[in-house]
């Protein structure tokens, strides 16, 4: 068997991709629909920007949820970046072969590590309820605080695993050389380890940011009466009917995601090139190429 695809394979892949994008395309298309119907009437009648205008109307009230979501995502990612990066630096032990998020669930992992990566293995609804119950027990008032604390729980694993994968692929000789040349351990950390880990820290943060902005299930259980995140707001608008301005909102969110993904891909490609340039022996080249094509769990 040759390692080559038949035309039928291409057709099949195209077909699956079309199905994958069908619901998204429908949302984008209908966001420009001029059909004034507020009911579930889905006939495309012409081009219009009315739903975008309606979105800007303060009556629909998307400003506050957007602000809440961004704030929650910002603080959660900041805290998770610190916890996850330090965790990764402290726990790089085994070589990680061939994969970005790596051998996180290794049998030999310590309990601490297992608990830290557990949130991405168990259903979100369990974590949501468990956190809600814990906050009730501890008497933490539901709101911004509980949202950030909960988002950190599921953001940490993404940053931890991404950064640890990167650190494990580095040549330990780099750090040892710095040490031998008289750098203090702190200096080694700030001027060798962290700069080398930076691309992974950034891509981990991007992933965590997307997860935080996207989270519905956990936020649903731990949000307070005064706080409403964007997914929660979308859920409450979509639950009862199909208000057309949601299409416009969704299209804007989609555009943002496409932009962020494109920028991060370009940035990673750039980092890859720079890395290749620095690393004359090209040892990292293969791995970096792998990391570029490697899936990130979403």
């Amino acid at each position: 068997m040759t390692k080559k695809n038949s035309p039928w394979a291409t057709v099949y892949m195209a077909l699956v991709l079309v199905l994958l994008y069908l619901p998204i395309l429908v949302v984008v298309l209908f966001s420009f629909n001029s059909n004034p119907g507020r009911t579930a009437n889905f006939q495309f009648e012409g081009f219009s920007l009315q739903w975008y205008k309606q979105l800007l109307d303060p009556v629909t009230g998307y400003g506050a949820p957007l602000r809440t979501s961004l704030l929650v995502a910002f603080w959660s990612v900041l805290v998770s970046a610190i916890l996850g990066t330090l965790g990764a630096i402290g726990l790089v032990r085994k070589p990680v072969r061939k994969s970005l998020l790596g051998r996180a669930g290794n049998v030999g992992l310590t309990l601490g590590e297992q608990v830290a990566v557990l949130p991405i293995m168990i259903p979100e609804i369990i974590l949501g309820i468990a956190l809600m119950a814990l906050f009730v027990l501890l008497g933490v008032p539901f709101g911004m605080m509980t949202l950030v604390l909960s988002h950190v729980v599921f953001c940490v694993p993404y940053i931890f695993i991404t950064v640890r994968g990167r650190l494990a692929s580095l040549d330990p000789g780099l750090e040892e050389a710095a040490r031998d040349l008289g750098a203090t351990p702190l200096k080694v950390l700030t001027s060798v380890t962290l700069p080398l880990a930076l691309p992974a820290i950034i891509s981990g943060c991007l992933l965590a940011f997307a997860m935080s902005m996207d989270d519905f299930v956990i936020s649903f259980f731990v949000n307070g009466p005064q706080t409403n995140t964007l997914p929660l707001k979308i859920y409450s608008s979509v639950k009862v009917g199909v208000p057309p301005h949601v299409n416009a909102l969704c299209t804007l969110m989609l555009a943002t995601v496409f932009l962020v993904v494109a920028i991060s891909q370009l940035w990673q490609a750039g980092a890859h090139k720079r890395q290749e340039h620095r690393d004359k022996a090209g040892r990292v080249k293969k791995l970096a190429a792998k990391m570029l094509t490697k899936p990130t769990k979403s």
Partner: protein
Amino acid sequence: MKSRGVVGKYQRSREPLALPMMLYGVLFVGLSLMYIIGLSLMTRGADFNAGAPFGAHNYARIFSTLYLRSLLQSLRLAFFTALFCLLIGYPFAYFMAKASPKARTWLMLLLIVPFWTNALIRIYGWKILFSATGPINQALLGLGLIARPLRLLYTDFAVQVGMIYAMLPFMVLPVYSAVERMDWAMVEASRDLGASPARAFLTVTVPMTLPGVLAGLVLTFIPSIGLFFLSDLLGGSNTMLWGNMVHNELLKSRDLPFAAALSVVLLALTGIVILVYRRMGGRAESMVF
């Protein structure tokens, strides 16, 4: 490539750096999970409180037609989700791994981008597609295949389609990394030794990619039991999945201990699935790509 990892002699002194992360995990994941297990053995009190008497009465309550039917419905949905994700996702992952490196990067990007977008948006798209006056019914009516619009939205069928759609990448990604890592020389050897393409595929490729398939099955099966918003938005009033049950007990009946018991059942199911997965030779690392 020799990948030794940063196992320098200074590594030991750095281990304390991981303490904050571990403490955070122990407090918010370990403790909270243990707390709901404890909670499930309590009795509800006024306003979200719980306390004595202690006992397994919440679990006894689960053994009623209502909950058992819901559990069965959820498991069936999860089973078909995993099955269809495998049937659709395996060929996709397989062809993707065989594509040229450049095409592979693009395919990966195309696969991942929709799943970076909010799940609610994608489900909302299906809501439009499935509605009585939506594109699917319009097309079928236009082609003269049906006389009246089909009832697609708010059915179990819609939930099943939405679930397969939502879970598909979790099958494609692990299978893809398994196929990509596979040694193609083995397949070629079996072909040279006279195996037909089908036989080579079944006896060489499939066993070699089995870890990815198992990981994909676990990753698509487990979340399908708990995703309550999907059946909330696409399902009818009789679609009561386990996730919906937990959700209702908590926010409508405000019965925290009983909701905790339902979650513990889900947690136990998750544990069993992961145990079976380990027994079958699945390594946890193929689950986290």
